[in-house]
């Protein structure tokens, strides 16, 4: 077995997001013989089986994939369960409104977002990102919300003053004043061949 081919197959299966069939592997690796690929695959399966590590190479759904053995599931779920949760768009929006508009009532948040925010608000309170500041002195005495100390900690902010303002974010798009004032083009109608400089493709 070519140990180079073995590494190549392993890396392709490792990075694939679904099981890879032998046919697919042969299509990708035309410089190798189908029979050699097949043998190498079988050897890889044995190798990982023998290692008794945290994952193995198994045949599923007509293809090959690395999977963790069921015996380790209880350890892995410890991690999966406790890992950082991504913010939902509605949680992010609600939090943003509270951060920038505090002190704010639930009705005000809902007016801005145009949807009911009870559930999101409750979960933000439970996560300790938002706190109740008190009650507003208007009919119905609604609760007033603001951000918590934990909010500052999560975003690494010294205080609420350190929250970037919208103006500051918008300002990134704007050209500096002196550039706009310069009369740069001799003939305004002509196109400029200098490429815009996008940093990424």
């Amino acid at each position: 077995m070519s140990s180079e081919l073995s590494a190549i197959i392993e890396s392709i299966i490792f990075t694939a997001d679904s099981p890879l069939s032998l046919d697919r592997l042969c299509d990708l690796l035309t410089e190798f013989e189908r029979s050699v690929i097949k043998t190498t695959l079988a050897e890889l399966v044995d190798q990982h089986q023998g290692r008794g590590g945290g994952f193995e190479l198994v045949e599923v759904a007509g293809g090959w994939q690395f999977r963790t053995p069921p015996s380790l599931q209880s350890y892995i779920t410890r991690h999966i369960k406790s890992r950082a949760a991504k913010f939902s768009q509605s949680a992010l929006e609600t939090l943003a409104i509270i951060a920038y508009r505090q002190p704010v009532t639930r009705a005000e948040v809902e007016h801005l977002r145009g949807v009911d925010c009870g559930g999101v608000l409750k979960s933000l309170l439970e996560k300790n990102l938002v706190r109740i500041l008190g009650k507003k002195d208007i009919p119905g005495r609604p609760l007033i919300y603001g951000t918590s100390k934990q909010f500052l900690e999560i975003f690494g902010l010294k205080d609420l003053k350190s929250l970037p303002t919208l103006k500051e974010i918008k300002a990134l798009d704007e050209q500096p004043l002196y550039e706009r004032q310069e009369e740069l083009q001799l003939e305004p109608g002509k196109p400029v061949p200098v490429e815009s400089d996008l940093p990424f493709d």
């Binding site: 779920t77 406790s82 801005l112 003053k161 929250l163 004032q181 061949p193 200098v194 400089d197």
Partner: protein, 269 residues
Amino acid sequence: MSSAPHHRQDENLPLLDGFHEQYSVHLEKFDGPMDLLLHLIKKNELDICDISIAVITRQYLDFIKIMKELNLEVAGDFLVMAATLLQIKSRQLLPLDEQEEPDAEEVDPRNELVRRLLEYQQYKEAGMVIGARALLGREVFVRTAADPLLTAAQNVEGPLEVTLFELVDAFRLLLQRIPVESFHDVAPGETLSIADCINEILSLLQEREMVQFDDLVRDDFTRERVIVSFLALLELCRLKLIRIFQGSEHGSIWFIPAVAADSSEVESE
């Protein structure tokens, strides 16, 4: 230059097509005036620490002239540097003012530029070095497949992962969806808003239990600041979020949180 607008080449005059293509190739190489200066210094085999301003200035201005002749946009940044070069050149020509302190720093008008060039050169090279690394997603890859046994175990109660930029951006996008009249103080303007000041006070009260009015205006003791801070205090008082008291007549104004937040009192559906 990050600001150069992008136009379609094919709208150009056919006669100039060839020129433009060639020069756009050159010009893209220069990532601003510092980059161009470094290039000129290297090309003339000059020592950065002892550049001939006369030579460099002439070539730099020639370059800008060619850009203009070719009708390429010359960004303001390039013109600013041209002005700096000319200023240094003229200062070299002037006799030293007797009155002026012969401050060592001031003796050579090139010093500041040299320092910037050396520093810029370092970062330009550092950029190339980090860009030459094996990058994730380009040369190096990680596993992308989710283990089907485990995806069901996802839990939303874990710690949160979000960046400040995402938060601001969410708010920015939200504002674009909403009619302007919903907001009283988003309009850009240099003036200090009461809302900002309220945030500041709330933030101070997160740090300590009792705050003095003077602390609010200490860094920026202006008429506007004092008035806005005071209005913010009154607003917070009206909302019954703080209590204000004064030690003595004309004494300092202090304020404390009026309520201890009770988080059990959540509005429910």
